[in-house]
């Protein structure tokens, strides 16, 4: 039996999310093949060939796969899946979009966002914003799985002879959707889901200007990614893709600094796997202090600049 791991990559290299999804793939105990799909993936495929436990890398290249559109990507997964006992993908926006589509076409019930592999057919996953962990056994012949990457440590690329790389046939693009454009923030910062340090802000920052003026210097000093609570994003202080929580991103940095965040359960769902949590909030009763290792109760407009300075 073989596991197919779907790689998140940017064409030139494999993303950290793939290294994290490799960890549960190895736990399944089977041979692993990696699929690198896109438009121009040679460099990323070469990197995938050195991943631990990988015996073959499949490349699928076509213009339609370049932007990760769900319809052609799902058609590719459907074409490959019957040869595998499990198909595993990191829960990135691309795979959250495409894998359930493939699952339905294969008549398989996907197992979303797993946090542990207990047996080749048994997995743990969070429900109710992480307030209940369920253990589920899949009765489907192929397991289609997305991985909550914040719950796994990365399995690093090894110094090993590379696995063979082979190109697979790409099914005809069903032509149902077309790519129009994208807008990516090009900030010179680590990616939120793989950063070692995350500085996050809430509604108490009061405005977009103050959010940036206070948090960005602190993030720069710490080499941190910047996150936000839903309230801060809804108020327009921070862009959508900075949202940490149940419906945003799940992060597991070594250090998470929550500034002016009260700590609604939906936010905690996205960050309580952090190794060390620091909370800065003027309300000493805020729920964020129940999960914080270190708490500072006080005015964030004084404390944050002081912290930035103290780290200099």
């Amino acid at each position: 039996m073989t596991t197919l791991l779907l790689a998140a990559h940017d064409g030139s290299s494999i993303k950290d999310a793939t290294l994290k999804a490799l960890t549960p793939a190895l736990a399944l105990g089977d041979d692993i093949h990696v699929l690198v799909a896109g438009d121009g993936v040679a460099a990323a495929a070469a990197e995938a060939a050195k991943l631990k436990g990988v015996s073959r890398v499949l490349t699928a290249e076509a213009p339609a796969l370049g932007h990760g559109l769900a319809e052609p990507l799902a058609a590719l997964i459907v074409a490959l899946a019957p040869a595998y006992s499990a198909v595993l993908a990191p829960a990135t926006s691309t795979f959250k979009n495409a894998v359930p589509r493939a699952a339905a076409l294969l008549d398989v019930m996907q197992i979303s966002d797993i946090t542990a592999v207990l047996a080749p057919d048994t997995f743990e996953r969070p429900t109710y914003a992480g307030n209940a962990l369920i253990t589920v056994r899949s009765t489907d012949p192929i397991k289609l799985i997305t991985v909550r990457t914040a719950s796994f440590r990365a399995t690093l690329v090894e110094d090993r002879p590379p696995a063979p790389i082979e190109a697979v046939a790409v099914p005809t693009d069903p032509g149902l959707s077309t790519f129009v454009g994208d807008v990516f923030s090009t900030a010179d910062r680590p990616e939120l889901t793989s950063a070692r340090v995350v500085v996050s802000g809430g509604r108490a920052l009061g405005s977009e200007e103050q959010f940036k003026a206070l948090l960005l210097p602190l993030a720069d000093r710490l080499g941190a990614a910047v996150g936000a609570s839903r309230a801060a994003v809804d108020a327009g202080y921070a862009p959508n893709d900075w949202q940490v929580g149940q419906t945003g991103k799940a992060v597991s940095p070594d250090l998470y600094v929550a500034v002016g965040i009260s700590g609604a359960i939906q936010h905690l769902a996205g960050m309580k796997d952090a190794k060390v949590i620091v909370a800065i909030n003027k309300d000493g009763e805020a729920p964020i202090f129940q999960v914080a290792d270190y708490g500072l109760v006080g005015d964030l407009f004084e404390l944050v600049p002081e912290l930035t300075k103290a780290l200099g």
Binding site: H67, L69, A70, E71, S93, T94, K96, N97, V99, P100, R101, A102, A103, A104, L105, D107, M109, Q110, S112, T122, T127, Y128, A132, L133, I134, T135, V136, R137, S138, T139, P174, L176, S177, T178, F179, D182, V183, F184, S185, E191, P239, N240, D241, Q243, Q246, T247, L255, V276, V278, G284, F289, Q290, V291, D293, Y294, G295, L296, V297, L303, E306
Partner: protein, 249 residues
Amino acid sequence: MKILVPVKRVVDYNVNIRVKADGSGVDLANVKMSMNPFDEISVEEALRLREAGIASEVVAVSIGPKEAQETVRTALAMGADRGIVLEAEGTVEPLAVAKLLKAIVAEEAPGLVILGKQAIDDDCNQTGQMLSALLGWPQGTFASKLVLGDNGIEVTREVDGGLQTVRLSLPAVVTADLRLNEPRYASLPNIMKAKKKPIDLRPAAQYGVDLTPRLMVLKTAEPPVRPAGRRLASVAELVDCLKTEAGVL
């Protein structure tokens, strides 16, 4: 054009749920239930498209226990025209929900189906994608903006690192993300009016879809509790703790 809006009855987002002591599930007795928040956003978007003259009718559909009628009634109070409830007891997984919705789409022939991107109880994030697959329609998931034109719909999607815009041919399936709109509250007159709007209650069994779950839930557990931390008196003390005790700086 008709718009179909599937809505799910879930535990209200403000409720702190409790796991049953014997690990058999989550205690749902006497817990406040509401419409899944993402589904409220879908209903709102459908209503705006009708108010803009683009859609002609908004039909809300729910799959669940008899009480799912209350959820559909909420959609009607917001402004949807009529409702359908497919009655089914117990867990109905996203794959089975998608199959039932496919049957409803065959009956209703909508030009657009708008769903919430995920339900806040099972957090699966699958139903819209699965429905779209079974119908062979294009999908625009995690939508933060919709623009309907003559030859399709442009969907701006919330993706890792930013936004992506795709153009879909119609009919299509769209799933709503948080920033698509801010749902309206139902006014008292509209709540009264909704009581007269029709809800068609049918047994889900009549569609011949196998609803047996594919995932057996063996255990439900509380997440591990983080030990309580410490309040520090000053920034200097914090920096010291992070450097020495925690070793993260």
